[in-house]
């Protein structure tokens, strides 16, 4: 049973190259058939599933709109487990929009945000953490974020959670076997060893929770403000940051926002730079930035890049900028190391209370140090090879915390010397909470575990 047919542009807008329109639902093939003429002259519905078909998109009047490759994926072997058609159009934004409008004219309706994924989930295609991961892939900002997102999809994260659950289940099974079969030769439950295992799982959960912040940054981008007085080189720094791997920098012309945000991939960390338009405007045209504006940007930012001019003495504007940095996650940059130095790194460092990085935006000098500093801030010294299992959203982090609360309670119960059955109450709750992350059910698992491990029964 399929839902009504939905359609949307599946690729990011304005990216150029190929634009994909995805249709999903009972009428997906019928809708596509009305607007697509295969070059072979055959009807689209005559093609087998998972074949790419070349042809033309035509409007109601028979006018050719674009040339396209069309891919049919029949239910249930598609992402949503419904009939899915992908129209890969080649002609840029306008033909793509026209094509989308045609799908609506032929009976599809606009998909809501995330609706394909929602259908995939509801049709049993993905577990909860995988569904989240797909959303993350769609909005992945950099390679590293993408790696984290694909890690979730293929289940590196799920596998980790499952290993925690398995560990807890093993303990529960032992407790339950001892309770249900008191006269069988189940090895005595040594509560100390149960406690040890629980502590181990708690440590692992704690590590995972710690990565929640990193996960969020990799997913959403790190809100970054570049501040400094006029002509200090903000625009040059911005350009230098953007130039690195220009290819995967995503321009999102603010359709609803009045300022422009740009994503810069800095050493794998997506920086979401606040008010880049403003930076350019102030540098190039207005030549003036109010401290008020800087104050506002700093308050929005998770990371502040503060620029100071090493070739000119620090003035009151610099002092005010410095005062904004108190209590902020800031990286202080001393620019123009190519020129005669008037302000030294030591003096600035003493005033800012943080180490200072000397750079030259003109000569691209010192940027590697900046990259390193940003990475250090995000990963907090964690090994960057582990992104596959970063916690990427608040829901997951919350469930992990709740599971941990139950494990802590189980430890208390052990310490208080309560009966075995009391220990298993909180262990079960922890196990269930972890199961909520992956969407697994509670069922016969415990019983199966008991019988696979212990020889019991009269």
């Amino acid at each position: 049973m399929q839902g009504d047919t939905i359609s949307a542009i599946a690729t990011a807008q304005g990216e150029g190259g190929i634009g994909i329109i995805r249709l999903s639902g009972e009428q997906a093939i019928a809708v596509a058939e009305k607007m697509f003429r295969p070059a072979s002259g055959k009807a689209l519905s005559d093609y087998a599933s998972h074949r790419a078909v070349y042809g033309r998109i035509v409007d109601e009047a028979g006018q050719v709109i674009d040339e396209a490759m069309v891919l049919i994926m029949k239910a249930p072997h598609s992402y949503t487990k419904e009939d899915v058609v992908e129209l890969q159009c080649h002609g840029g934004v306008m033909p793509l929009r026209k094509t989308l409008a045609l799908t609506y004219a032929h009976g599809a309706r606009p998909a809501e945000g995330g609706e394909f994924t929602k259908r995939a989930f509801l049709n049993g295609r993905l577990d909860l953490s995988q569904a989240q991961a797909v959303m993350d892939i769609i909005t992945a900002k950099t390679d590293r974020s993408l790696k984290m997102a694909t890690g979730h999809l293929t289940g590196a994260f799920s596998a980790k959670i499952k290993s925690f659950r398995q560990e807890i289940l093993g303990q529960i099974a032992h407790l339950e076997a001892a309770i249900d079969f008191p006269e069988d030769e189940v090895d005595d439950v040594v509560t100390e060893s149960v406690a040890e295992k629980v502590v181990e799982v708690r440590n692992n959960i704690a590590k995972l929770i710690k990565t929640a912040g990193t996960g969020r940054i990799l997913r959403d981008g790190l809100m970054t403000a570049i501040v400094g007085k006029p002509n200090v080189g903000k625009s040059s720094l911005l350009n230098a940051l953007l130039q690195e791997e220009r290819a995967i920098v995503t321009d999102i012309p603010g359709t609803t926002r009045d300022s422009i945000e740009e994503y810069a991939n800095v050493g794998g960390v997506p920086l979401r730079i606040i008010d880049t338009a403003g930076i350019r405007a102030t540098e190039d045209v207005v030549e003036k930035i109010g401290v008020e504006k800087a104050r506002q940007m700093v308050s929005e930012a998770a990371l502040v890049l503060a620029l100071f001019d090493g070739s000119r003495p620090l003035d009151s504007e610099d002092e005010e900028i410095l005062s904004l940095l108190a209590g902020r996650d800031a990286i202080v940059l001393l620019n123009k190391s190519d020129l005669q130095s008037v302000v030294t790194a030591e003096v600035l460092s003493a005033k800012a209370n943080v180490p200072v990085i000397e750079i030259s935006t003109k000569e691209n000098h010192g940027l590697d140090m900046l990259v390193q500093a940003i990475q250090d801030k995000v990963y907090g010294g964690a090994v960057a090879a582990d992104e596959g299992s970063f916690v990427s959203d608040e829901r997951q982090a919350n469930l992990l915390r709740q599971a941990d609360v139950h494990l802590a309670a189980a430890l208390q119960t052990i310490e208080a010397g309560m009966g075995l059955d009391f220990i298993s109450i909180d262990l079960r709750s922890a196990w269930e909470k972890l199961g909520e992350i992956t969407g697994d059910t509670v069922g016969e698992d415990i019983i199966d575990e008991i019988f696979s491990k212990f020889c019991i029964g009269k």
Partner: protein, 636 residues
């Protein structure tokens, strides 16, 4: 042409087919509630027979007996009257899993139960082999016996145990038959098929019985009963009981070798047995196969009664050929010269797929037809009896036009058992275990009366004597708790000295006795020695202590129940067409169509219904409600 011997021989409200543990409870319940009831049995000599182990109770099973008793059932009372050893198991663990287990005198158990049945008002007991279920227009009308006569009824409870197409297997030798030398009921399952009942084929087994005179108990470990005299029933007052011990011994490498060498002759491996057996009650040959590294398996020697030399070899269930049985038994310490009085055997039988039943144990598609016990795919006397009483009660409720009794998972192990059966079905003989219950701490054996006696009263099964005893106990508990909450001690010099002298940490502020009892090192008796507290009897004291000591944990479970209840309260209309619900996965949709759950809660427990399906159902229900609400508004 109708034969002369086809005639209506009797008319009843309720007929119960089979007088095992499920059948007697069903019949007694229906009759005691006031229905004119017939109980049929293959043999008047084998009412409430125990064809397998001579014991009642144990973890979760003992809980079932206590619950059955609290509702007004007979098993607990009968066991108290006739058992020859009682032990409380799991006493080192929390109160929720303490479990009473008793060794039965099998024959005495049967005769006593038979006498109870025969003396119960409204109840006829007859020796009949029932061949046919009579159904008209989806409604049960009665049964027909092998000799042709018809008994009509408004409701029929089948409690046919392991007798349907029963087949006994001992090695290469097989024959048609019921357990323990009984006849099999060959035709009844065909009659069930004719009216659309889906059947399964299960298997179970039992060990040999050996002659007590040929056992050397000096080579075994004695297992005496508890010194304290205990009872299953809330109505029993036995304070002394003469007990008989059991003995413990072990298999060894030699035993295992004989079994391994003859494995190709084991009916369960060579294809003679096709039915599915229970994992928790594996035969000794299965144990050897599945746990090859285990050096020994324990065996309990359990006497079958005071007036017999038959001894049950618990742990040694087998369907091996006779020569192998004799060989391996004699490798066991204490059994070197053992003489076998009855051989171990396996039995295959037809049972119904329990997902065809409503939680009332009535068939969804046959009005007035109920099923209970081992015929529903369970195993164990206690599981059978627990279903029996519910089927009997609900047959009576149906006839009286009153609300059926469906126990929740948070209310009773009986609720867990029946919900599991009708929701998940079972692919092996089902045994109750405490780990099957989510809310174990609430379902204690000590508070079964508190949980269920009011429900038994509602359906008319709890008579005045039990009700009086119950209300008296509850009042005493409430009064005691009230007293402990309202009275406190102050940190005066005198009291501080008194506490310290008794080795108790003094109080810093005014502290109620209730709060004092929360301390893990204090109990009621200790406190009563120091302060003037009301005198409480044993049961009341126990309830007071458990209520106070485990309050935090109990609260936690009550919160869990509350969360679950939200899904249980979202009822699914009985006529819901799952084809109308978009986006359900095919498997989930088919399962929902087959089970037709009462609530989203029950739906969530069906295997094959995924969390995604549940989300879909919840969203759909929400939509339907909004549509309805919208329509309502439009009308205004």
């Amino acid at each position: 042409m109708e034969s002369k011997n086809v005639f209506v021989a009797g008319s009843y409200d309720v007929i119960v087919v089979g007088a095992g543990h499920a059948g007697v409870e069903a019949a007694l319940a229906a009759a005691r509630i006031g229905c004119n009831t017939l109980l049929t049995t293959l043999s008047m000599d084998n009412i409430a027979m125990m064809p397998c182990n001579p014991s009642v109770g144990g973890p979760a099973k003992g809980h079932l007996v206590r619950e059955l008793d609290a509702l007004g059932g007979e098993m607990g009372v009968n066991a108290d009257k006739t058992c020859i050893q009682f032990r409380m198991l799991n006493t080192g663990k929390g109160p929720a899993v303490h479990a009473l287990r008793a060794q039965a005198d099998k024959k005495l158990y049967q005769f006593t139960m038979k006498e109870t049945c025969e003396q119960t008002e409204n109840l006829d007991v007859k020796q009949l082999l029932i061949d046919k279920l009579l159904v008209e227009d989806g409604k049960v009308t009665g049964v027909q016996s092998e000799t042709g006569e018809i008994y009509t009824a408004k409701a029929v409870v089948m409690a046919t145990g392991t007798y349907l197409k029963g087949r006994i297997i001992i090695g290469e030798h097989t024959y048609e038959g019921g357990p323990a030398g009984q006849r099999a009921a060959v035709k009844f399952s065909d009659s069930l098929k004719e009216v659309g009942v889906k059947l399964m084929r299960f298997k179970t087994g039992t060990p040999a019985r050996v002659d007590a005179r040929t056992l050397d108990y000096s080579k075994m470990e004695i297992q005496p009963g508890d010194e304290e005299c205990r009872n299953f029933s809330f109505m029993s007052d036995e304070v002394t009981r003469e007990q008989i011990p059991c003995y413990l011994t072990y298999t060894n490498e030699e035993t295992h070798k004989i079994l391994r060498d003859n494995m190709e002759r084991a009916p369960m491996t060579n294809g003679i047995i096709e039915g599915i057996g229970p994992r928790y009650c594996p035969s000794i040959e299965t144990k050897i196969l599945r746990f090859p590294d285990k050096e020994r398996h324990q065996l309990f020697l359990e006497p079958e009664g005071r007036h017999t030399n038959e001894v049950y070899v618990q742990g040694m269930s087998t369907s091996m050929p006779m020569d192998v049985q004799l060989d391996f038994l004699r490798t066991i310490p204490g059994l070197e010269n053992a003489k076998v009085m009855r051989a171990g055997y396996a039995i295959e039988y037809d049972c119904i797929d329990p997902t065809q039943l409503k939680p009332t144990l009535e068939f969804k598609n046959i009005h007035g037809f109920f099923s209970a016990g081992q015929a529903n795919g369970t195993s164990g006397y206690e599981e059978a009896a627990a279903q029996g009483i519910i089927a009997g009660i609900n047959a009576a409720m149906l006839i009286k036009g009153e609300e059926p009794l469906v126990l929740k998972r948070s209310e009773a192990y009986i609720g867990v058992l029946i919900d599991d059966l009708v929701t998940k079905g079972t692919n092996e003989p089902y045994r109750i275990m405490t780990s099957r219950a989510e809310y174990r701490l609430l379902l204690r054996q000590d508070n079964a009366d508190q949980r269920l006696t009011p429900l038994g009263r509602r359906v008319g099964l709890v008579k005045d004597d039990r009700w009086a005893r119950y209300t008296e106990k509850q009042n005493a508990i409430n009064e005691a708790l009230d007293y402990l909450r309202k009275n406190s001690i102050n940190p005066t010099k005198e009291i501080t000295e008194k506490l310290m002298a008794a080795g108790i940490e003094p109080v810093r502020n005014a502290t109620s006795f209730y709060d004092l009892l929360r301390r893990p090192d204090l109990d009621y008796d200790k406190l009563a020695q120091l302060f003037d507290l009301p005198e409480l009897n044993k049961e009341v004291k126990q309830q007071v202590e458990i209520t106070i000591t485990y309050e935090g944990y109990i609260k936690k479970q009550l919160e869990q129940v509350e969360r679950m209840e939200k899904l249980e309260e979202k009822l699914l209309p009985e006529n819901l067409n799952y084809d109308d619900v978009p986006s359900l996965r095919d498997e989930g949709r088919e399962k929902l169509k087959a089970i037709r759950p009462r609530s989203v809660g029950q739906a969530s427990r069906i295997s094959g219904v995924s969390p995604a399906d549940i989300s879909v159902l919840l969203i759909w229900l929400e939509q339907q409600q909004r549509i309805k609400a919208g329509e309502g508004k439009a009308d205004v």
